[in-house]
């Protein structure tokens, strides 16, 4: 097999990642299943799965404008929530029975209010207060917030989320994480059988369909990857760092120029699967809280967590033997802009070429982006 692109399973993942509605969700809904949209990986999907509800990671895929959203949000709000909100306003998220936002960033936090104000008919809306800082002291606090969210879900959807169901959901999601870890392991090879662009599609699909089916499909894909020709040579091994990387634009640009993206530090990528949740202990909510506060590198919004994130990011760069790192953040995403500013000098000190830029959530000025990336790859190869 020349490329995984010809695989039926990959085509399925790619189709799911490049649209909002998909046949898996349609089937789920036909069987009377409920769907909750959630905005950030800090909102644990395990809780919804334990309640028999399908979690769907929110994104603005397919959006071409923010005309409708701009009535409620200003251009100072980054494009990710604006385009996602716009998709909801024009009915693309009608399949949602619930929405959970969190204190991820100011705009997303406010979306719960805008959602109701705009009259979008999503029956259940909940705002989760996540940990604002890292460290042991936050675990208990966050566990209590998760308890409140669990109680609200149980009450509204009339379901019982038992500890056993939570343990089962943790096991199921851990299986997903382990399979995704295997996928990332393949990217450590000198000539990876899967590109960065293809990996984005696989990862995004993982938060857009039922986990049981995803795990089954991903196992098939991993088997197929063993048959992919790995003779192709790449001009540079790069990693991507930054916010909400749910499209393949940047990877496509990089890979069309002959380089390959071998890993990432993004919240649709490595940050959702790099570790698993403990299946030990008698308080699964505490296990989830511990995983999200202590194990997963928090996003730059979280106070005082840059050193851990730096260590994690540098570790990825080393493990995947990257030749350079490309940082991207959406215009007006202040936390990531500050993070990338810090990482630039830290990467340079480590002797790893680093470039970062701001871009719109929906691709524009592709020519300028291509010039930067091409010049960066040329600089590495020089």
């Amino acid at each position: 097999m020349e490329s995984i692109k010809s695989s039926d399973v990959f085509k399925k993942f790619s189709g799911i990642a490049t649209s909002l509605k998909n046949s898996e969700i349609e089937n789920w809904k036909k069987q009377g299943g409920k769907v909750i949209g959630y905005f950030c990986p800090v909102i644990p999907e395990e809780v919804f799965i334990a309640g028999g509800i399908l979690p769907f990671r929110m994104r603005g895929t397919g959006s071409t404008t923010t005309d409708s959203a701009d009535v409620y949000l200003k251009p100072v709000n980054c494009g990710f929530p604006r385009h996602t909100f716009n998709q909801a306003l024009i009915g693309e998220y009608d399949f949602l029975d619930g929405l959970v936002v969190n204190t991820c960033c100011d705009t997303i936090m406010r979306l719960a209010v805008d959602w109701e104000h705009a009259g979008i008919k999503t029956p259940f809306i909940y705002s989760l207060d996540n940990a604002h800082a890292g460290g042991e002291a936050m675990v208990g606090h966050f566990r209590n917030q998760l308890q409140k969210m669990k109680d609200a879900v149980e009450k509204y959807f009339n379901v019982e989320i038992t500890e056993q169901k939570l343990q089962d959901a943790i096991k199921l999601c851990n299986e997903t994480k382990l399979l995704q870890q295997k996928l990332y392991e393949l990217r450590k090879l000198p000539n990876p059988p899967i590109t960065g662009s293809e990996t984005v599609a696989v990862m995004v699909a993982g938060s857009s369909m039922p986990k049981e089916q995803y795990n089954k499909d991903l196992k098939t894909l991993l088997d197929e990857l063993g048959n992919v020709n790995t003779d192709k040579k790449y001009s540079a091994r790069l990693m991507i760092i930054g916010c909400g990387h749910d499209d393949t634009l940047l990877c496509d640009i990089i890979e069309e120029l002959g380089a390959v993206v071998v890993t990432d530090q993004t919240c649709f990528g490595s940050r959702v699967m790099i570790k698993t949740i403990s299946e030990e202990g008698d308080d699964p909510l505490m296990s989830i809280a511990g995983y999200l506060v202590l194990d997963v590198p928090y996003c730059p919004k979280t106070i005082g967590t840059h050193p851990e994130r730096k260590q994690f990011t540098m570790g990825l760069a080393k493990d995947y033997k990257v030749d350079g790192a490309v940082g991207q953040c959406f215009i007006s995403c202040d936390p990531w802009a500050a993070e990338l500013y810090l990482l630039k000098s830290e990467f340079q000190e480590a002797g790893i070429p680093f470039i970062w830029f701001e871009r719109e959530y929906i691709p524009d000025l592709i020519g300028q982006l291509k010039t930067r990336v091409e010049a960066f790859i040329e600089t590495i190869n020089n």
């Binding site: 830029f357 010039t371 010049a375 040329e378």
Partner: protein, 272 residues
Amino acid sequence: MIVGGCDLGSTTGKAAIMIDDKIYCGDIIPATTKPALTATMAMDSALKKAGLKSIDEIEYIIGTGYGRQKVPFASEDISEISCHGKGAYWALQSVRTIIDIGGQDCKAIAISDKGVVTQFEMNERCAAGTGRFFQVMAKVLTCGLEGIGSVSNISDNPVSISNQCSVFAESEVITLINDEKSIPDIITGINQSVAKRVVSLVRRVGIHDDVTLTGGCSKNLGLKKALENLLGTTIKPLPVDPQSIGAIGAAVFAKEKLLAKRAKELEVSSKE
């Protein structure tokens, strides 16, 4: 050895031909709506300057600039960032910092003592700090781009242009005109405003002498003066047309590529 470079920028097309080590630059051709046509017109002009009859006499051509993939006769393409670094170093080996201000973007490029690009920064998205900004201002002031460059040195009391957005800055300039501010004061203010924007970009890669200015805006003497004041250093002039540096760099790359290709062919044939 005859090689060439063609730089298809956002507003102009430039071509350079290198015969042995001598460079022949064609005229600066305003961009047409057809990139391939602009490239051909630019190369035709360079052919004339080099005294060549046909493009077929050129053994290797590199395309660069925004339209680099649309240069119909290019053997391959290289980004204009690398080409400006290569061209400026070829023209003046003491150069370490290049400020390239073109039609739609502005770049600060750091090069090593071997002429290799080590770092670069580019303006984000908008037209502030680019030739487009000057075009908008020249239109409002009805002085042409030449006027922006020539009258600025006679102002003692430049105005302050606070808006970096060319659209809002245009409104600001209209207000200044209505306030009967003198045209030289306004133009100097415009040049200083652009220079401030550009210098913040240059600081990100570091200011290392020698500094030089390339791209179409390098011909704006008022901007050059404003940049020198803010950078605290002299901008070294290049012995060739600074607007053609991208094309020249592309031609230098073409020579290197051709030499490498020949060496490889020789290696293969000697093994056979």
